[in-house]
């Protein structure tokens, strides 16, 4: 006790370090999932931060529009062109009413639940981004009140974003796919017979391998989820940046860059 009285600053620092370490260890042990206390604190913080965020997001978007005016005009032209092409494709791909009825009968007979039936979607805004700038986790302004649950899949217009790992009434925390250590089964868009598994994540890039070592894949190929495992089928994962045959494991390994630009994300959709 006398030592503590004589070394107040050191004792205080040791106490703070111990408290912080205990908090960190318990947080890591629960995989970052919120407990009732942290949920309550988080909810209070979100109540304060939400209106601030709503105002500043509007200002930020306007500023960004002004700064990137030329880019937006070019993007607009490109989108118009793409829209025309998509309209043509849509016209070709539209099912006749007979074909549609046949397919509906088939799904009923097989009791098939695709993404459209098994997953309702709810869209929200990103209200805060990670403080660790190299990681890509963020908080969204929709939560269990909107039907969001832990483990729900999060997507954006560009593709698969990640999963919800913590949720409360009006907010949910999302961990990006590139920061998770989970395996994702994929198919190559355009050739659905080429299947592979993404198994490791380094520096924001995904790497995996093709199940068929003779599979013909090349740089630029688009990867989509195969539907095996937790991810529904057809979600865009990313594009192949490198293909290499590993003679030791006799596997064709691929490195993939996510199609989602995490630094520019503002809205995401949760499949609930």
């Amino acid at each position: 006790m006398r030592w503590i009285r004589n070394h107040k600053l050191i004792s205080f620092l040791i106490l703070v370090i111990v408290v912080c370490s205990v908090i960190l260890i318990s947080s890591v042990a629960t995989m970052g999932k919120s407990n009732p206390v942290s949920k309550a604190i988080n909810s209070v913080c979100m109540t304060v931060l939400k209106p601030v965020n709503a105002v500043t997001n509007g200002v930020g978007e306007t500023l960004s529009d002004i700064i990137h005016f030329k880019d937006i005009a070019e993007e607009n032209d490109a989108l118009r062109e793409e829209n025309e092409q998509l309209k043509e494709q849509l016209a070709k791909a539209t099912l006749t009413s007979n074909e549609l009825t046949e397919l509906k009968n088939l799904t009923d007979a097989l009791n098939y639940k695709g993404l459209a039936e098994s997953g309702k979607m709810v869209t929200g805004d990103i209200i805060s981004m990670s403080d660790s700038r190299w990681m890509n986790n963020f908080t969204i302004n929709i939560g269990s009140d909107d039907g969001v649950k832990e483990g729900n899949i999060v997507v954006s217009g560009r593709g698969l974003v990640g999963t919800v790992y913590s949720v409360s009434g009006s907010w949910a925390k999302v961990r990006a796919l590139v920061d998770e250590n989970s395996k994702v089964s994929f198919k190559i868009a355009g050739n659905m017979q080429l299947i592979g598994i993404i198994g490791s994540f380094t520096n924001g890039e995904l790497s995996g391998f093709m199940l068929d070592s003779n599979a013909k894949v090349e740089k630029g190929d688009t990867l989509i989820t195969s539907g095996m495992g937790v991810y529904p089928t057809g979600l865009e994962i990313g594009r192949i940046t490198k293909v290499k045959y590993d003679s030791d494991s006799q596997l064709q390994k691929v490195t993939v860059k996510s199609t989602v630009d995490f630094s520019a994300l503002q809205k995401v959709t949760v499949i609930i």
């Binding site: 600053l9 978007e61 990670s130």
Partner: protein, 166 residues
């Protein structure tokens, strides 16, 4: 030091974070106001206990709201505080160049410790990749920190001057 004022300053820094994130889209280069405030206050003042207490509480809040785990930012802020207390024995704190070096080094140290903690918890980012990303943060934080330092230092000088010639 007025503790209520100190808590108020941290609260403003905490609320201003989404403002900076919203106004400067693309979160890679936004400043960490809580870190800037802690660095400058520890460097300028000798009353460490309230600064470390309130700074750590707000770092934990920051972790709760923005982080995956609760604690990495709080621990890295503590390490930064200890480093600055040690540095103060060798550096004159009433000097803009010294302040600039301390703020830049503090930012680098904060993110390096944070990266170490995340690596220990299973993150797969190499230090080479992280250093490229935090370089911009070091620059932004140094600019923001120098503004905070200039404001605080001018107030201290004014108070000293008033005490001397009262």
């Amino acid at each position: 030091m007025n503790r209520l004022g100190l808590a108020g300053a941290y609260l403003i820094a905490f609320i201003l974070k989404p403002v900076m994130d919203g106004i400067l889209p693309g979160h890679a280069g936004n400043g960490n106001l809580i870190l800037c405030l802690t660095t400058v206050l520890i460097f300028l003042f000798d009353d460490y206990v309230p600064i470390i207490t309130i700074g750590t509480v707000f770092a934990i809040l920051d972790d709760l709201v923005y982080g995956i785990y609760c604690g990495p930012e709080a621990i890295s802020t503590l390490v930064v505080c200890l480093a600055i207390i040690a540095i103060k024995y060798f550096f004159n704190n009433e000097n803009y160049l010294n302040a600039l070096i301390v703020i830049a080094v503090s930012t680098w140290l904060e993110y390096t410790v944070e990266w170490g903690i995340y690596c220990a918890t299973g993150a797969t980012y190499t230090y080479g990749y992280v250093i490229k990303i935090i370089l911009l943060n070091v620059i932004v934080n140094t600019i923001v920190g120098m503004i905070v330092y200039a404001v605080m230092y001018s107030r201290i000088r004014k108070k000293k001057y008033e005490k001397l010639y009262r």
